[in-house]
């Protein structure tokens, strides 16, 4: 099988799974497609190498996360990272349970690097050390980004009056 054919097969088979990760990382459908386009173009350039890897999809998933935190890419997503999350205003919460419609918008409002850490930790199930490898930063940076993100989410949830329902992890 030639390189192009191998790449076509990889994209066709893995597309949906890669798209879901890209969507969570980019926090929008258009951002996801943009991210995938960039990462897969780069993967194509080196496909003779990547295609031989035993875990090619894992490698491309890392490329996706890495592309997100590149400052050049961030601008094209039209994203405005902020340390302050929007006040969590949702439907009235009659019971002290977390409205699942609330969490995702809060994650979307996180700065890109914090969101990447959260997605890699809780969706990809990577450890801090693994996330540090993916994002090419020190484990301490991952820890501080994760702490900042969790803190911001907790504050927003508390402000919405349902923070008490979310126990300390």
């Amino acid at each position: 099988m030639d390189t192009d054919e191998d790449f076509r097969e990889f994209v066709t088979v893995r597309w949906a799974s890669l798209y879901r990760l890209a969507y969570l990382l980019a926090a929008s459908p258009t951002g996801a497609e943009d991210l995938l386009q960039t990462a897969l173009e780069k993967a194509y350039v080196n496909w003779s190498r990547i295609g031989r890897m035993e875990h090619a999809e894992a490698y491309v998933r890392r490329m996706l996360a890495n592309a997100l935190v590149s400052s050049r890419r961030r601008a094209s997503f039209g994203e405005r990272p902020t340390d302050e999350l929007p006040e969590a205003i949702g439907d009235s919460v009659e019971e002290p349970v977390l409205d699942r419609r609330l969490m995702w918008p809060l994650v979307c409002a996180l700065p890109a690097r914090q969101r990447a850490v959260i997605v890699l930790r809780y969706y990809e199930d990577l450890t801090e050390a693994q996330i540090a490898d993916v994002l090419r930063c020190a484990p301490g940076t991952v820890k501080s980004q994760s702490s900042a993100a969790i803190g911001a989410l907790r504050r927003a949830l508390t402000a919405s009056g349902i923070g008490e329902a979310v126990s300390e992890s």
Binding site: V11, Y19, K42, Y44, A129, V166, S167, S169
Partner: protein, 277 residues
């Protein structure tokens, strides 16, 4: 349910709700080909510019030899070098770049200026040189204060030894214990970059599914080879810089050309540590 569990559940639900549009694979391939052409064109363009400059230099030398008058060159005021940036293997334009090496014992950052004098370098986590003169193969140069050394299997997600020795001599000994390695030259004292150093040479055959990690560095996991095909020879020089044990490293695949090894050494020798960084 705690926040961790809420996040895990909600991210999974949100992902599952997405219906991926059909992929336009041909567009991806066209984009990839264009990206490859741009990369190649950039390399050729810079190489041509370097050739012109070399030619002009040779012309100047010829004029001097034939009695012509050589204008003295005015030393240019040294500007702060560009900051080295990982572009995922994109072309690294010739020039001098400032790299973060790590921190010293007081927490102050150590930087190094490194000069790349041809257009065959790519900017990965650390610079990678492609053997465009003598055949296929790659190599690279790195300079860092290690935060950890490979342990366990040596593969990217395997264990990391963060209990590092605090002297160059002992750190040199630890390097000989890198997984999957064969010691070609045992630790021994040398002079490198005008400093006393400990030199160690290893050969590593990457048996990982993808990346073998040598060390954890300020730029993240520092892998040597991504292709479990040919062994890699790594030279380490461990030296004291402001109280920190710094590793200067060159690596190359076993059968690269001698010209490539010389180019790696030339780049290594260009390293200057920035004082007061």
């Amino acid at each position: 349910m705690n926040l961790d569990q809420h996040l895990r559940a909600e991210l999974g639900r949100e992902a599952d709700r997405q219906h991926a549009p059909a992929p336009d694979v041909e567009s991806l391939i066209r984009g990839g080909r264009a990206r490859r052409r741009r990369r190649t064109a950039a390399r050729v363009g810079v190489a041509a510019a370097v050739a012109v400059l070399v030619g002009l230099g040779a012309y100047g030398v010829a004029r001097i030899g034939s009695g012509g008058t050589a204008e003295p060159t005015t030393p240019s005021r040294a500007a702060t070098p560009k900051t080295y940036e990982d572009t995922g293997g994109g072309t690294l334009a010739p020039g001098t770049y400032r790299m973060l090496v790590g921190v010293d014992g007081t927490g102050a950052e150590i930087h190094a200026d490194v000069t790349f004098d041809d257009a065959s370098w790519g900017a990965d986590d650390y610079p990678v040189l492609y053997d465009t003169l003598g055949g296929a193969g790659s190599g690279g140069v790195a300079v860092y204060v290690p935060q950890g050394l490979s342990a366990g299997t040596g593969c990217l997600l395997s264990a990391l030894n963060t209990n590092l020795a605090d002297t160059p001599a002992l750190l040199g000994d630890q390097l000989t214990e890198l997984p999957q390695s064969t010691v070609l030259q045992s630790p021994g004292p040398v002079q490198m970059l005008g400093r006393p150093a400990v030199h160690v040479q290893l050969r590593i055959k990457n048996r990982c599914a993808d990346v073998y990690r040598v060390a954890q560095t300020p730029y993240g996991g520092h892998g040597i080879t991504y292709e479990p095909v040919r062994p890699v020879v790594i030279d380490f020089w461990v030296m004291d810089v402001r109280g920190a044990s710094v590793i200067v490293e060159t690596w190359h695949e076993v059968d690269v050309s001698s010209q490539m090894v010389d180019r790696l050494a030339r780049t290594r020798d260009s390293i200057t540590f920035v004082t007061g960084g």
